[in-house]
């Protein structure tokens, strides 16, 4: 186990180094001089030179990289070249926004998707199934930016029931947080709801035809008990796996949702940093993202090895 753990840790470190190099070089390969982006319209060669010196952009790339990694290892992700704000602080403010949005979106997607999937499976070849399928198709097809704008026009402008933008943390004011996040979460979760609905439907159809469901019915259990107590319970294993796999996609999708609803989350921070060629911020957010992905993958691999000893044995044999 110790050898397996060491090997996975080493692989993670190598992956991490490669990611930082790719990101570091990748953003520098983008057309657009960060000094020029920072100088705005009032640029002159002397000012540009000063800016490059101030942010170390005039140094060799390898030296910039080493300094960056060294600072990052000491917990210093630097300051935004555009706003002068601390990158770590900005990320610390942005991450909870995206996480709360993602969790809320998954909850809504699961609620809608599972219910619609159950209805579609239990009421086959009825109007209810057609309606559920139609909703799923819409959820997959409608672009989130359009869905979001329509939602704002309807529920914030025409009927001012919900705020059009902004964020309140659930820990500060749960009610206001719910109001602010409801529309963005529905928009973000709509695609996932459709996927969950289809998975639930197929899993439920399969489950409803199994022997244990027939046995449950033969024992005289009611329809609700059979569906929710037996068939759905087993179907949820597949659904939960799918929902988990979609989490990464959900966080990517949050980029657009955060722009529409002006949520100060991780996606908005990243996009705005790219447009302004804010190298320290881009490096900071990608570093945090890469660390999270590598960390989660490592954790999953280690869990696999705990659950299934063949994994670590196979690893040792290699």
């Amino acid at each position: 186990m110790g050898r397996y753990l060491a090997r996975r840790l080493l692989e993670s470190v190598i992956t991490f180094i490669l990611v930082t190099i790719v990101v570091f070089l990748g953003i520098r390969a983008l057309p657009g001089d960060p000094a020029r982006a920072l100088a705005g319209e009032e640029s002159d060669p002397a000012t540009l030179a000063q800016i490059r010196t101030k942010f170390g952009l005039d140094q060799p790339i390898w030296l910039q990289y080493i300094k960056y990694v060294n600072n990052a290892l000491h917990g210093d992700l630097g300051r935004s070249s555009r706003t002068g704000l601390d990158v770590s602080t900005s990320i610390r403010h942005a991450l909870p926004v995206t996480l709360q949005l993602a969790v809320f979106a998954i909850a809504i997607a699961a609620l809608i998707g599972v219910l619609a999937g159950v209805v579609a499976a239990v009421r086959r070849r009825t109007a209810a199934e057609w309606a559920a399928n139609g909703v799923a198709l819409l959820g997959l097809s409608v672009p989130s930016f359009w869905f979001g704008l329509m939602g704002i026009l309807l529920f914030a402008v025409a009927y001012p029931l919900l705020p059009a933008s902004g964020f309140v943390s659930v820990f500060d004011d749960p009610v206001q947080s719910f109001r602010h996040l409801l529309m963005p979460a529905i928009v973000l979760g709509s695609g996932l709801a459709a996927i969950i609905m289809r998975q639930t439907r197929s899993a439920m159809i399969e489950a409803m035809g199994t022997d244990y469901v027939r046995t449950a019915r033969a024992k005289g259990l009611g329809g609700g008990q059979v569906v929710f107590g037996h068939a759905l319970r087993n179907s949820l294993i597949v659904v939960t796996t799918i929902a988990g796999l979609q989490l990464g996609g959900l966080i990517s999708g949050a980029v657009i949702t955060e722009q529409i609803f002006v949520l100060p989350g991780f996606g908005k921070l990243t996009i705005d940093a790219v447009f302004t060629r804010d190298y320290p911020m881009i490096q900071g957010v990608t570093l945090v993202t890469a660390t999270a992905y590598i960390g989660i993958n490592l954790l999953v691999d280690l869990l696999y090895s705990v659950i299934d000893p063949r994994v670590r044995v196979g690893g040792a044999a290699l």
């Binding site: 983008l30 057309p31 657009g32 001089d33 020029r36 982006a37 920072l38 100088a39 705005g40 319209e41 009032e42 640029s43 002159d44 060669p45 002397a46 000012t47 000063q50 800016i51 010196t53 101030k54 935004s80 555009r82 706003t83 002068g84 704000l85 601390d86 602080t89 900005s90 403010h93 942005a94 704008l149 704002i152 026009l153 914030a156 402008v157 001012p160 705020p163 059009a164 933008s165 902004g166 964020f167 722009q259 529409i260 002006v262 100060p264 908005k268 921070l269 705005d272 447009f275 302004t276 060629r277």
Partner: protein, 546 residues
């Protein structure tokens, strides 16, 4: 709400129609100088309640809130609330004292400038705003690494404290536009105590003199400022707090204004004007703009901006760079009035030069406009000996507005004998190309400055720091340098008129249109002001008593 009344708009419309007619009849004309239009609801007589929060939707994220380092227009809007300057402008673009007690006095040779300060004024941290603070601020502007004010104050040799309420500036050479520079960020005075404490992190917690003081900033989200009890005019400040929310997308800003989630909508899109006018709960503020949009033509930018002009090589070389007749032909192929009508619903103003008709330095010569005449354009191309259609490329933004503008120009110049290739490019990337001289033409604008020097010298003199065209003409250099040094308004006005006449002959820049500052405001808000500098001033704004 007493703002741009219907009658005023009708007069403006009549003027616009008259101008269009005169263009058609004469075939050549100038854009008339009108009094500057600065729309605001400051004269609203409705009683205002004390307290409350104003939410302003800014069109972009300000950069560092440090007057020495700041470079963005949206940042300047936030500064109007927290950092006052030695001088300011009024609605008619006159420079007026703000933290200074009077306009500066210049010595007879123009090299010594005496600035008298108001007394008894305190910074937000309670310390005194005096001559020592002014010296500390100006010295920092001139010396801090990465200072964006260094070039603006490059004429200043030294700053001396004469007495606690007087500062004396010694200049390297006479430089009249200095007063205008001190009416912008270069004239913002910072608390020396805070400067010592924060150093180059001052922008994370700025302390100046203003109706509000900095409270909080969340990246990409908002900036909050709260009423400053130390402010010398605190009794006239009604609001407790102003929140500047960063909402880059104009549709989202509009939705937020309509839903009541914000009170002020910065930089209204022309697509939203009708909806704003048709909404009884909202008002539209309109003010002239000092800036312009135009086309820069690469006539000699060989090795990059700031390097001596030279002869272009392929693929950027051609008659467009070497023969002024080809550039004149291109200009005469553009129908500015139609461009404005087709692309911007007629909401902007055609522009033929860098000086706004609102400027006190405007003149008939400054507003002279080459006529639209595609046949004359073809004749010019023929005389220049170039084959038609003459193929030329233009780097242009990749936004929907830029695409519409580019396509309209492309269609127009076809009649004048040009085959225009559009090169849509992301903004930061386009600056890379054009700074390096890797382009033939570039569609870009300038936000405008109060003093015409800020709209001309950097772009049109041989050594100009933003002379992307690589344009070099000793006559132009002399005219603009003389205008810089001249102290008399009429003399300067005459020199700028001559410079623009020369500009139309050489045509390294073709000016297209001048935008308007459109600002949306909820009707229950009183006292929001927008001057031609485009900044939203909310110092004395408030919420009307219901």
């Amino acid at each position: 709400m007493p703002r741009s009344s219907t009658a005023t708009r009708r007069v403006a419309a009549a003027l616009a129609i008259g101008l269009s007619l005169s263009l058609i009849i004469s075939g050549c004309s100038s854009i008339k100088s009108n009094p500057p239009q600065a729309d605001n609801n400051a004269q609203d007589n409705r009683p205002v309640q004390n307290g409350g929060t104003l939410r302003v939707a800014l069109a972009g994220e300000p950069d560092a809130l440090d007057p020495t380092l700041g470079r963005t227009l949206v940042g300047r809007t936030v500064f109007t609330s927290i950092c006052e300057k030695l001088y300011d402008i009024d609605t008619k673009l006159n420079i007026v004292p703000q933290l200074a007690s009077a306009l500066p006095s210049f010595s007879s040779d123009g090299k010594t400038v005496t600035i008298k300060l108001r007394t008894g004024i305190k910074f937000a941290d309670g310390t005194a705003m005096d001559a020592a603070a002014v010296k500390a601020s100006l010295d920092r502007h001139m010396t801090l690494a990465g200072s964006a004010r260094k070039s603006e104050l490059s004429s200043v040799a030294s700053v001396a404290v004469t007495d606690p309420s007087t500062v004396t500036l010694t200049l390297k050479s006479a430089f009249t536009p200095l007063t205008a520079q001190l009416a912008d960020r270069a004239g913002m005075i910072m608390s020396p105590t805070a400067l010592t404490a924060e150093g180059d992190k001052f922008g994370t917690n700025p302390v100046c003199v203003g109706p509000f003081k900095f409270s909080l900033r969340v990246a990409q989200d908002r900036i909050e400022v709260v009423k400053d009890p130390n402010y010398y005019n605190a009794s006239k400040v009604h609001l407790d707090k102003v929140i500047y929310k960063i909402i880059a997308d104009s549709t989202t800003r509009m939705n937020n204004l309509q839903s009541g989630d914000v009170d002020v909508y910065d930089t209204v899109s022309t697509n939203d004007i009708d909806a704003l006018k048709g909404n009884s709960k909202l008002a539209l503020l309109v003010s002239d703009s000092l800036g312009y949009q135009g086309i820069t033509i690469n006539v000699g930018n060989v090795n990059g901006v700031g390097k001596p002009a030279g002869t272009l090589a392929a693929p950027y070389a051609g008659a467009m760079a070497t023969d002024a007749r080809v550039r004149q032909a291109f200009e005469e192929s553009i129908d500015r009035a139609t461009l404005n009508k087709v692309v911007f619903k007629g909401l902007y103003q055609p522009a033929c030069g860098p000086i706004s008709p609102s400027s006190p330095f405007s003149s008939d010569a400054a507003q002279a406009c080459p006529k639209y005449d595609p046949n004359a354009a073809k004749a010019l191309l023929q005389s220049a000996g170039v084959a038609m259609p003459y193929k030329v490329s233009m780097v242009i933004g990749n936004t929907p507005d830029a695409s519409r503008l580019g396509q309209a120009i492309q269609s127009m110049v076809k009649d004048g004998g040009f085959d225009l290739q559009l090169v849509p490019t992301e903004f930061a990337a386009s600056l890379d190309l054009t700074d390096a001289g890797k382009y033939q033409m570039f569609q870009i604008g300038w936000s405008g400055r109060v003093d015409p020097d800020g709209n001309t010298a950097n772009f049109l003199t041989s050594a100009g720091s933003q002379n992307n065209a690589g344009y070099s003409n000793s006559t132009m250099d002399k005219l603009l340098n003389d205008a810089r040094a001249a102290g008399d308004v009429n003399t300067r006005k005459d020199l700028y008129g001559q410079a623009i006449t020369q500009l139309h002959k050489d045509a390294p820049l073709i000016y297209l249109y001048r935008g308007q500052n459109f600002t949306g405001v909820a009707k229950n808000i009183v006292g929001v002001q927008v001057f031609p500098d485009g900044l939203i001033r909310v110092g004395t704004a408030g919420i009307a008593v219901a």
